[in-house]
């Protein structure tokens, strides 16, 4: 028999506004406390070190997703919406939806989009710079660009696209505790969910696009027709807010690291590395929960079967045990292996889409903008799961 260590306890609230404004000190404290920590306030367990977070992400046998990847335990609580067939599913039910969406969003499909998205990014950057050199990068670039290209790629109709960001924002808040952020979104849940569900129907989607491709896979029997709208819903839930905040992260990083911007300008092929480094550095998706399927050993401690475990992706991505100088945003780093997109069978299925959006926008900016710097105070947007910016005022000089 192996000795079982006592699990350290913390009374921190990772979902308080104070922590959401700046979680870095809490991440460091949780990493130092041990490989696994008990969060007394919510009676859940937490992991903040890279090795343990990575190991749990790939171990779908021991750390399941089907009991929900938020704080709510679907074994005992009713989910606020029908569970995702991807994010909130385990093998074997997870297999077919994942396979279909991975193919729909795979490199072969994206190759068809890359030329158009490059042109769209050039056009957007030209439009913005034609009238001003100082602007808030969030509305005019980092949310404008995904909203310009992604809904078209899915095949959404023109009406109601403004619902995408609030719907995603609420979905990601709902992974946390039912705090004021969830309450703030609650009045619109029925309306937004209804709109999203309506867009997932075959007849609402354009004849070409990711949505149509998903329905075509159901025609071939690769998923059932009942699954198709929920797989489309995954695109609409997870495909917009996340990329907006990822792009904001990389823009903010460059606005505060002029040397790295100069480096990108001298070698635009670094755009993809820059985006992944920003995803590591900022971790737009901060956390996900898993549920122990058995009494799982983490370090010398045991987390009992059925208990929720909060994985701090963001803390793992800055764990000095894994990363040299982890707080530096550095294009000479190889960010491979970061867990900002997750890891294992649930790793972000849209990551190639996100990279292509980022590469398109960064390449266009690098060509037109010589310097970019902050032009005023930035404002955070608080979300229980996402690390986001409400406003990034920047000043640019043309190339």
């Amino acid at each position: 028999m192996t000795a079982t260590a006592t699990i350290p306890t913390s009374d921190v609230d990772p979902f308080s506004h104070e922590v959401l404004e700046d979680p870095l000190a809490m991440h460091a404290a949780l990493r130092e406390a041990g490989p696994v920590v008990h969060l007394a306030r919510y009676d859940v367990y937490a992991m903040a070190r890279y090795a343990e977070v990575h190991a749990a992400l790939v171990d779908w046998q021991g750390f399941q997703s089907a009991a929900g990847v938020g704080m709510s335990n679907f074994r005992y609580e009713e989910p606020w919406r029908p569970p995702s067939l991807l994010l909130e599913a385990d093998p074997p039910r997870h297999d077919a939806p994942r396979r279909v969406l991975q193919k729909v969003l795979g490199p072969r499909a994206l190759r068809r989009l890359s030329e158009r998205w490059r042109a769209d990014a050039e056009a957007l950057v030209d439009e913005v710079l034609a009238t001003r050199t100082e602007f808030d990068a969030v509305p005019v670039l980092t949310s404008a660009f995904p909203l310009r290209v992604f809904p078209d790629a899915v095949g959404l109709g023109p009406e109601g696209r403004e619902n995408l960001l609030p719907y995603g924002d609420h979905a990601f808040n709902a992974f946390g505790p039912s705090n004021d952020l969830v309450a703030r979104g609650a009045p619109r849940v029925a309306e937004l969910s209804g709109w999203v569900a309506a867009q997932c129907r075959r007849e609402a989607l354009a004849p070409e696009g990711f949505g149509a491709d998903i329905w075509a896979a159901s025609d071939r029997g690769e998923i059932t027709p009942e699954m198709a709208p929920l797989v489309v819903r995954s695109l609409l839930t997870a495909g917009v807010d996340t990329t907006v905040h990822g792009l904001s992260a990389v823009l903010y990083a460059f606005a505060t690291h002029p040397d790295q911007w100069a480096r990108l300008r001298s070698d635009p092929s670094l755009a993809r590395v820059a985006f992944d480094e920003a995803v590591r550095w900022e971790s737009p998706v901060q956390t996900f929960f898993r549920t122990a399927t058995t009494d799982v050993r983490i370090g010398d401690a045991v987390v009992p079967e059925g208990r929720k475990i909060l994985m701090f992706l963001a803390a793992a991505n800055r764990d000095p045990r894994r990363w040299a100088d982890p707080d530096a945003f550095d294009l000479s780093r190889d960010p491979s292996g970061h867990v900002g997109f997750g890891m294992g069978i649930h790793q972000c299925v849209g990551q190639h889409v996100a990279r292509l959006e980022a590469e398109s926008l960064l390449t266009a900016l690098a060509r037109r903008v010589r310097t970019i710097e902050l032009a005023g105070p930035t404002v955070r947007h608080h979300n229980n799961t996402l690390r986001a910016w409400e406003s990034i005022p920047v000043r640019t000089t043309p190339a």
Partner: protein, 321 residues
């Protein structure tokens, strides 16, 4: 990462940790990382490339338990008239030896359904075994028709016995040829039929399922379909978009070999259009698809090809190389 092909360069070195006779001429190998760590995840229907110490590479279906992350199991039939891979596994390979393992890849995925009919011929039971287990776990309605030459050559009968009358074991020397029509019943919607086995069985299954709704029958063959004569008997040109190089491919040469002669190495393995390693993106021109991987829709898209066997219908193909 694509749906079908993790990078073929990523060949893991695994150790044979078990070798067990399962029937006359059939054994299973258990493979594990020397460190004992996790292996790459797989789904029922997947196969791996086994890179044997004698230099041969062979594809084998995974037939173990996907919930065991540390072990792969493959079933290997001794083929006395084969090219030497199975004979090596049966006679030479020993517990403790190391082998290269590429993949897993899945060209034969189990799609969701409330009702499955499985038909296995001989060693074709191997990819179906994890499917049967999965159908049982999911509570689907399923039956398996399992044929073989004789009972003692049929592997996994002990495990399958646990499923009772869902499994029909039909050794040919006892019960004659498989009654496919009787097993399948009348054509109907809502059923997925999975078949794996020798080419004559798969041909008979295609005939037996001709009147069933499209996409009902799913098969896996380890021998590529005989695609008949190539679409053209004259040379064609292959342009490599990234380098601008153009290569002429003569009738007796594969695109893969023609590329190799100008120093463009495309990773390949089976060279028979079966494993999927050499998938290459087609930017222009219509390939003459001669692989066993793409379905009709994927062929019609003309956006990729397997350069080990597929050729060109047009004078010129442009590849993303």
């Amino acid at each position: 990462m694509t749906a079908t092909a993790p990078p073929a360069t990523d060949v893991a070195t695994l150790r044979v940790v078990g070798k067990q006779v399962r029937a006359d001429g059939v054994l299973t190998l258990d493979l594990a990382a020397p460190s004992g760590g996790r292996l790459r995840d797989w789904t029922p229907g997947s196969h791996v490339d086994l890179v044997l110490p004698n230099g041969l590479t062979r594809q084998y279906s995974l037939c173990g338990d996907r919930f065991d992350p540390a072990t792969y199991r493959v079933g290997v039939l001794l083929e006395p008239d084969g090219r030497g891979g199975s004979a090596y596994v049966h006679h030479e390979l020993a517990v403790g030896d190391v082998v290269g393992v590429g993949g897993p890849r899945n060209n034969f995925p189990l799609v969701p359904s409330e009702s499955y009919l499985f038909v296995a011929g001989g060693i074709g039971i191997t990819p179906l075994l994890p499917m049967v287990r999965q159908a049982a776990v999911l509570g689907a309605d399923w039956r398996l028709l399992y044929g073989g030459r004789q009972r003692r050559s049929m592997a996994f009968l002990d495990e399958l016995a646990a499923y009772g009358d869902r499994v029909l074991v039909r050794p040919q020397d006892e019960t004659g040829l498989l009654d496919l029509a009787g097993f399948l019943g009348a054509p109907r919607a809502g059923v997925r039929v999975y078949a794996c086995g020798p080419a004559p069985l798969l041909a008979a299954m295609e005939a037996a399922c001709a009147d069933w709704p499209p996409y009902t029958l799913r098969t896996e063959r380890f021998v590529a379909v005989d695609g008949g004569a190539p679409a053209r008997t004259t040379p064609f040109e292959v342009e490599l978009a990234r380098t601008g190089t153009t290569v002429t491919v003569d009738p007796g040469t594969s695109v893969l070999d023609a590329l190799g002669r100008v120093g463009v190495e495309v990773l390949s393995s089976c060279r028979r259009g079966v494993c999927g390693n050499c998938e290459t993106t087609v930017l222009a021109g219509r390939p003459d698809h001669r692989d066993a991987l793409l379905d009709d829709d994927e062929r019609a898209a003309d956006d990729c090809m397997y350069v080990c066997v597929s050729r060109s219908r047009d004078d010129r193909l442009v590849l993303d190389l």
